[in-house]
Amino acid sequence: MKILSDELVIKNVVCPFCGCCCDDLEITVSKNSIVSAKNACALSQAKFGSQKEERISTPRERIDGKPLETNYEKAIRHSARILAEARYPLLWGWSCTSCEAQKIGVELAEEVGGVIDNTTSTCHGPGLLAVHDIGESSCTLGEVRHRADLIIYWGCNPVHAHPRHMRRYSVQSEGRFRKGRKERKMIVVDVRNTATAKMADEFIQIEPNSDYEALTAIRMCLKGEELEQEKIAGLPSTRFEQLMDELINCDYGVIFFGLGLTMSRGKSRNIDAALSLVRDLNSKTKFLIMPMRGHFNVAGANEVFAWQTGYPFAIDFSQGYPQYNPGDTSGVDIAARGDCDAALVIASDPISNFPLDAAKNLSSIPIMTIDPHETVTTSVSEVVMPSTMVGIEDEGTVYRMDGVPLMLKKLIEPPEGVLPDTEILSAILKEVRALNRGR
């Protein structure tokens, strides 16, 4: 750490934005402000830059339909009362906060007999559903950097969503056995010619909603089956024969996939096909696959939930023990059916991100929100509790997209009086326990 007048340079900072969790950031702080962020991509810069914008300064409660400023004590008591009395509360979000906070969330959900779900549900959940069936041949990102000579981005656009991914971990990185871009081949499969596709050696444009067919076609070629159709996924079927040849002739291939696979028609079946393809490819050459996790700690939410309850998301505690059935116990479905009668939302904005009918149902029940910033959800919440920004104003553990755990640092003090998630959640839990004991 260097000190230059009243400036401090903090090194090896882990970025709290996307699943890359780049840990080489150098943040200059001065007078309790972030002055600059070296090595930070555009998204990261925006996050550090947003540290002072749209912050919620004090807790709010809605009394007689009007939002009124209050204090933490009242807000926490109000929230605890709602949660303790709710028949089927939903605790949603979790992906943009620390593991330490996520653990308290699980305990709270268990205490109130509610459902805890994280944004995996609306992101890479389908991938996990496929993993339950197939498993997954994967690695940490350094393995890609050291060994991969063929890298495929399927249904994702890292230039926009994971800007440093290619330079730090894949096509443009330098590894022990691959010295850089020249020693690697890059293929992009997508429905449009994205910024990432423009950088590829080969861009394969398939029709929307045809990923399952495309992946299956490659698998069929791999198994020596004949493709009977002339066109598959909008391409001549011979294209898949060619692609299969490229895949088996590499030394070390990796598929990175994104929401193009998880969200389009087929959902979990698309990833099933991708995981199966990679598994099959291992009989010919070394091949791995990895989901491009969007948020900096959605992987952490899966890990924490899984070791504490056995399941990675959509966990229902209403029977007193963990139950898991995505589609039934998942956030969007519960909201769409109007089953939940209260919601605790943390580090997420479901009113903005859920399809409208689900958002509408959610907004008609009492919502308690914990967030540093004003969001669409805070604007319709019954109770709003501001929190610190983890990774900037508070430390915490996070998991990178490949499962590598890292510690976020505290760089500056939070705004006056604002508490960390962990403290708010602990206080709510304590209050809920007291209420439950009193019953």
């Binding site: 090194k11 090896n12 882990v14 840990d23 080489d24 593991c99 653990k103 305990e107 268990e110 996990l128 993993v131 339950h132 069936d133 197939i134 498993g135 997954e136 041949s137 994967s138 690695c139 940490t140 990102l141 350094g142 393995e143 950097r145 050291h146 060994r147 730090r168 971990y169 022990r176 056995f177 030394d251 070390y252 598994r279 009989s283 050459t285 070394k286 791995l288 899966n302 890990e303 924490v304 899984a306 070791w307 504490q308 309850t309 056995g310 399941y311 990675p312 505690f317 029977q319 007193g320 023990y321 963990p322 898991y324 553990t397 998991y399 499962g403 590598v404 755990p405 890292l406 510690m407």
Partner: protein, 566 residues
């Protein structure tokens, strides 16, 4: 506050102190065994009950990246085996990959008080510690994996054992690990290219070193650092018919490095590497050959890896083995290669009674235990969950102590395999003292945990009391009574606190995490730091600073100073 306890009139089995079914009192104060307690001590009436040190499990995959990947991959494992939340305990799920709270409760209910997670990838060991922090009651430690580590292979290839020692010391301090774990040395690095290593003298691609050199080098490092436990080895060729020869060679390859009175190598889950035969149809037990070797020498310890007939999950750092298992059986397969270090694979498995191979495997584990003469050098494990869940330990105990129990089980197995096995002819039955040795006294000693595994003055007050009278019950005939009693401890005492009563959790406390605070002289340390700062960024995608785990990350840190007293 009165933290005194007297366990009155129990029938004590404490092999480390040569106590074999003596009626005596055990006094506890301040979490330790003491000579006497004051009259105001709380009394536990242990009349007619077996009193032993708390169980010490030397090898059980309970925490970390691959354990959790297995949980995620296998929701079906949890669905029917769950525990509800109670006023005292958290809810959770069980069977072969229990959730963390459930893991702690289930071990405690069986009277176990210390459990080792035997294989953690150093780069992800922060994850292991997060899970260990969430396992209640029991004390724990974890073994970082080194057998495929780039730094290690390079140091040893150059012959720089001192440099390697400084590196290992730094790694143990940085990852808060306890011992040197070696899994399929060189083979996992080969697997990162899709290959494997099939012999001690094969060369690891791109590294110019052999498994023999890796094992010997790390054995020397272990001696230099005076680590509390010997090198803990999962040899090459695990799961391959005929591999017993390689196992013996592996044990033999460090014989000349052995120090008087100390083990130089521990072969773990030895059942999986005691296969004779050319292929699955000619599979036989190599247990006799292995046991003969172990009996002849003094420098080797092993643990069983006993098969249980149930559906369970295999999970190991031996990535290539898991891929082969997946191809053999077709079940789903999870793989994670960890950069510059190691890997992991996970495949569900079912051990079937009527299956020739599984029956042979089952027999091998027991043959090892019955043929190795010195109970201080063979430990009872199921390599949880690879050969079976740890909740099956009472069943294994009944097989060890009763020929009848073995015969009863054998009746229902593949008779072709039974006929070809030695096991029916083995009459040996473990005594209570021997059972206590292989489940607590010997394992604690092997781990260098001087205050565990015995009930002498100054020992940790980790005590298990079982509802079986070892002076009256004949375990050979009445093995069911022994098994039943071992399933649910009448009392489990941890650090002087009663945590289990009649098989139920009555108090939840937090256990300690042991780690080896290994150090080298300053000049060696400085040399290491300069080498690391050059190489670290080339090898890893995280910074060295972020690789290191701070001590306060552990819920209750308990460093052991190697070579010294605790």
């Amino acid at each position: 506050m009165n933290d005194e306890l007297i366990i009155r009139n129990g029938i004590v089995v404490d092999p480390a102190n040569d106590i074999d079914r003596e009626v005596m009192d055990i006094a506890i104060r301040g979490g330790k065994i003491v000579r006497k307690a004051s009259p105001s001590a709380k009394i536990i009436d242990a009349s007619g009950m077996l009193v032993m040190p708390g169980g010490v499990d030397i090898h059980s995959h309970i925490a970390g990246s691959k354990t959790n990947a297995a949980r995620v991959m296998r929701p079906e494992d949890h669905v029917r085996d769950f525990e509800r939340k109670t006023a005292l305990t958290r809810s959770g799920v069980g069977h072969s990959i229990p959730s963390t709270f459930t893991t702690g409760y289930r071990y405690a209910r069986m009277g176990y008080t210390t459990v080792i997670e035997p294989a953690t990838p150093p780069m992800k060991t922060r994850h292991t510690h997060e899970e260990l922090n969430d396992i209640p009651i029991i004390d724990k430690a974890c073994f970082p994996l080194f057998g495929n580590n780039w730094h290690v292979m390079e140091y040893l290839e150059k012959g720089d054992v001192d440099g390697c020692a400084a590196y290992i010391a730094w790694m143990l301090r940085s990852t808060k690990g306890y011992a040197i774990k070696i899994v399929n040395p060189g083979g996992v690095e080969a697997w990162h290219w899709g290959g494997n290593i099939r012999g001690l003298d094969w060369e690891v691609p791109n590294f110019g070193i052999t498994p023999r050199e890796i094992i010997r080098g790390l054995c020397k490092v272990n001696k230099i650092l005076k680590l509390p436990h010997t090198i803990h080895v999962h040899p090459n060729n695990l799961g391959k018919p005929g591999n017993y020869l390689n196992t013996i060679k592996t044990m033999d390859c460090v014989k000349d490095l052995a120090e008087e009175g100390r083990a130089a190598i521990h072969i773990t889950h030895c059942q999986f590497t005691s296969f004779k035969g050319e292929d699955w149809s000619t599979l036989r037990s190599g247990a006799e050959e292995i046991a003969n070797y172990v009996n002849k020498v003094k420098h080797v310890t092993i643990d069983m890896g006993q098969i249980i007939f149930t559906a369970t999950t295999t999970m190991t750092a031996d990535g290539p083995f898991e891929y082969i298992l997946h191809q053999l059986q077709g079940r789903k397969w999870h793989n994670t290669d960890v950069e510059a270090e190691t890997g992991a694979g996970i495949v569900p498995v079912v051990y079937k009674r009527k299956n020739f191979v599984n029956t042979t495997q089952w027999a091998i584990g027991l043959e090892l235990a019955l043929l190795v003469k010195d109970p201080w050098r063979i430990y009872m494990t199921t390599d949880h969950p690879n050969a079976g869940p740890f909740t099956a330990y009472p069943r294994v105990i009944s097989w060890l102590m009763s020929k009848k129990a073995r015969e009863n089980t054998m009746k229902r197995l593949n008779q072709g395999a039974v006929k070809k096995s030695n096991l029916p002819s083995l009459d040996r039955e473990y005594s209570f003292a021997e059972m206590a040795t292989v489940t607590r006294a010997a394992t604690a000693r092997a781990l260098g945990l001087k205050d565990k595994g015995h009930l002498g003055i100054g020992a940790d007050a980790d005590v298990s009391i079982y509802g079986v009278n070892p002076k009256e019950v004949d375990p050979s005939n009445d093995y069911r009574a022994v098994r039943k009693a071992m399933r649910r401890a009448a009392y489990t005492i941890k650090e002087g606190e009663i945590v289990v009563r009649d098989g139920e959790i009555v108090k939840v406390i937090e256990g300690k995490t042991f780690w080896a605070d290994a150090r080298v002289p300053d000049d060696m340390e400085m040399k290491l730091q300069s080498e690391l700062s050059e190489k670290f960024q080339d090898y890893y995608t995280i910074q060295a600073e972020n690789y290191v785990i701070a001590e306060d990350y552990l819920a209750r840190s308990a460093p052991i100073i190697p070579g010294g007293t605790r």
